[in-house]
């Protein structure tokens, strides 16, 4: 906590305003929008993994749940405000239940990984097998493998015909990300965030201090899910279709890769990792010589081997080394431990 909170907020606001203004000149807003959404999704895992030490193999489950909740609610309601709220709440409640089940059962590490992975698989398999006409929620067919197209997309609250799409939608998503980022910043500076980091570092000690570790992890897990759910709803609006692929293990894998490449234990790393890799994937789709899966895989292996701290810590370390502020940064150590906690 080197900078004061006000400074931190100001810097965030100025930098993001500049980025929101400059980036559309470099990348089309439509693509930018999805990069922002992925950034938010990366941040959701970055929060619970990097600061809470909870490695979730199924972050995509909450992303998908948010997207599906939005789509189903939007079809039934015909207006986007309530569905947006539901898309945040439903994954959060689901995560709270799942988290309580896991954390009060004192599951950690690999076991946590297995459970989150399995729950994601169950959701994926369930949604994937709902093609039949009997799977209906209100007016919405769940649609199985083909997903749900044609739902009401984001509108100005209260006016279902005033759609927000195209460039305005880009601004909505960008502002949403900035708000979420600031909320995460605030959370991490608050007692809750500091206690969460304490729990990441040593659960037993925090328990012996009198903190209800399971409850706190559950809450943090639910917050992460809420952010992922919001990203899911924004994604649904962006793509105008939701498919079971959102729940897939591949999607979960990508989120984890974003965090690793961007840098764990930082707020910015997962966002940068997500946007950067998603853009790389988008660029790779325009060539056909090298298989894209191969490239993504190689990136992951090389990062784990040679840059396990990720891009953002490495670059800021380099920056500090260059400009002489070579203070020992506890963040770096903190980060490494988080991965094994």
């Amino acid at each position: 906590m080197e900078r004061s909170a006000t400074q931190d907020v100001l810097i965030t606001l100025v930098v993001s305003a500049l980025l929101i203004w400059i980036m559309p000149m470099l990348i089309t807003t439509y693509t930018l929008t999805v990069l922002i959404i992925y950034g938010m999704l990366g941040l959701s895992l970055g929060l619970i993994w990097g600061f809470g030490g909870i490695l979730c193999f199924g972050q995509a489950a909450f992303f998908g749940l948010g997207a599906y909740t939005y789509a189903i609610a939007a079809i039934n309601i015909g207006e986007s405000t309530v569905p947006m709220i539901l898309a945040v709440l439903v994954p959060a409640v689901f995560a709270a239940l799942l988290g309580a089940m896991m954390f009060y059962g004192r599951l950690t590490d690999v076991y946590l990984g297995v459970i989150t992975l399995v729950v994601t698989l169950i959701l994926f398999k369930f949604v994937n097998s709902t093609a039949g006409p009997q799977y209906v929620i209100g007016n919405a067919r769940i649609g199985g493998f083909n997903g749900i197209p044609g739902f009401q997309t984001l509108n100005v609250p209260g006016d279902p015909n005033a759609y927000i799409w195209g460039v305005p939608y880009y601004y909505v998503c960008a502002v949403a990300l900035v708000i979420v980022f600031l909320l995460v910043t605030w959370l991490l500076r608050s007692s809750f965030g500091r206690i969460a980091v304490g729990i990441r570092e040593n659960e037993t000690r925090m328990g012996l201090m009198g903190y209800d570790v399971a409850a706190r992890k559950t809450v943090l897990f639910a917050i992460g899910a809420a952010i992922a759910g919001l990203a899911g709803a924004l994604f649904a609006n962006w793509g105008e279709i939701v498919t079971p692929n959102l729940f897939s293990l591949g999607q979960s894998a990508e989120i984890i890769i974003w965090c690793i490449v961007g840098g764990l234990g930082t707020r910015l790393g997962p966002i940068v990792g997500a946007a950067g890799l998603a853009y790389l994937k988008f660029m790779l789709g325009q060539q056909s010589m090298i298989d894209n899966t191969l490239i993504i895989g190689l990136i992951l292996v090389l990062f784990v081997l040679f840059l396990p701290r990720g891009l953002v810590p490495a670059i800021s370390g380099l920056f500090e080394a260059t400009f002489g502020r070579a203070r020992r940064r506890p963040a770096a150590r903190r980060m490494r431990r988080a991965r094994h906690g």
């Binding site: 896991m102 459970i115 698989l121 169950i122 191969l294 895989g297 292996v301 081997l305």
Partner: protein, 288 residues
């Protein structure tokens, strides 16, 4: 009567194939505390090795039981030397690195073999049990799994290598204390684990259509089986494969294959919640 026999065989087959699918992963995890998420791709490569060898005129059983394990074992050895050995003791990092490797293998296989479904036909004909036809190859898989489990038991119990392995499983510094290089042991373990993955992929290849992404279908089940099995290698493997195989097949026959798979997954959640250290974390503690 005929029907119940057929169902019994299907259940045994389900258990056997889970044992087969999980064995390679279990060995690597048990010995090295490394979760090899490229395990499914090792199986996929075992399948391709078999199909390629058969295409070159090799006898199908030789291809499955000899060539595929060797080829995949060698690939595993290379992977261990290049990547895994730098990451020992870092559980999460090895998971991530092997995940990356799995993507690399999928990419490579796609570039070499293309994404078209390939496969070989089953080398054993079906036969009739009363009024029912039954897949003869199921028996082959059951036999291979049984032989595999017995062989693992015999090696761990009866050989010097097995002794060292058991020591290493209990305490990773044991081998060093006994004067064996842990590096060598890990190398050998990873070779064996990969070879078993290759064997599993090869033996299952004639039953499925193979594509470079086929491995993904196995890794989740193998991962779940191994973790739910807990710390004891053989007892854990057999007990959790039995539990999951039976749950899966009961629901498959009663309702549908999808429900069968979901039931397996739900069983895994319930089981891990009830026994956070896996089955052998609670029962059969002193077994292998």
């Amino acid at each position: 009567m005929d029907l119940s026999f057929v169902i019994l065989v299907e259940m045994l087959y389900a258990v056997a194939s889970l044992v087969l699918i999980s064995a390679g992963l279990a060995i690597v995890f048990g010995m090295m505390k490394v979760i090899n998420l490229a395990h499914g791709e090792f199986m996929m490569m075992g399948g391709y090795a078999t199909i390629t060898a058969v295409g070159l005129g090799v006898n199908v059983f030789v291809a499955m039981l000899v060539i595929a394990p060797l080829v995949v074992g060698l690939i595993g050895l290379i992977v261990e030397r290049l990547v895994i050995r730098h990451l020992y003791g870092r559980l999460v990092d090895t998971m991530l690195a092997t995940w990356g490797l799995s993507l690399v293998f999928i990419g490579l296989a796609t570039m070499i073999f293309g994404n078209t479904t390939t496969g070989i036909s089953t080398p054993i004909p079906g036969f009739a049990v009363g009024g029912y036809q039954i897949n003869g190859y199921n028996f082959f898989i059951i036999v291979v799994s049984i032989v595999l489990v017995i062989a693992m038991y015999a090696i761990l119990r009866g050989t010097r290598a097995g002794l060292i392995a058991r020591g290493t499983m209990q305490r990773s510094d044991m081998a060093a204390a006994l004067g064996y290089s842990p590096d060598r042991i890990y190398m050998a373990t990873f070779f064996c684990g990969s070879a078993l993955s290759g064997l599993a992929g090869a033996v299952l290849a004639p039953l499925v259509g193979l594509v470079p992404t086929s491995g993904g279908a196995y890794i989740a089940e193998a991962f779940i089986t191994v973790i739910a099995g807990g710390p004891s290698l053989i007892a854990g493997l057999v007990s959790s494969a039995t539990a999951f195989g039976l749950v899966n097949q009961i629901f498959t026959f009663a309702i549908s294959p999808v429900i069968g798979e979901v039931a397996l997954l739900v069983a895994a959640v319930v089981l891990l919640r009830a026994m956070p250290q896996g089955i052998t974390g609670r029962f059969f503690k002193d077994k292998m």
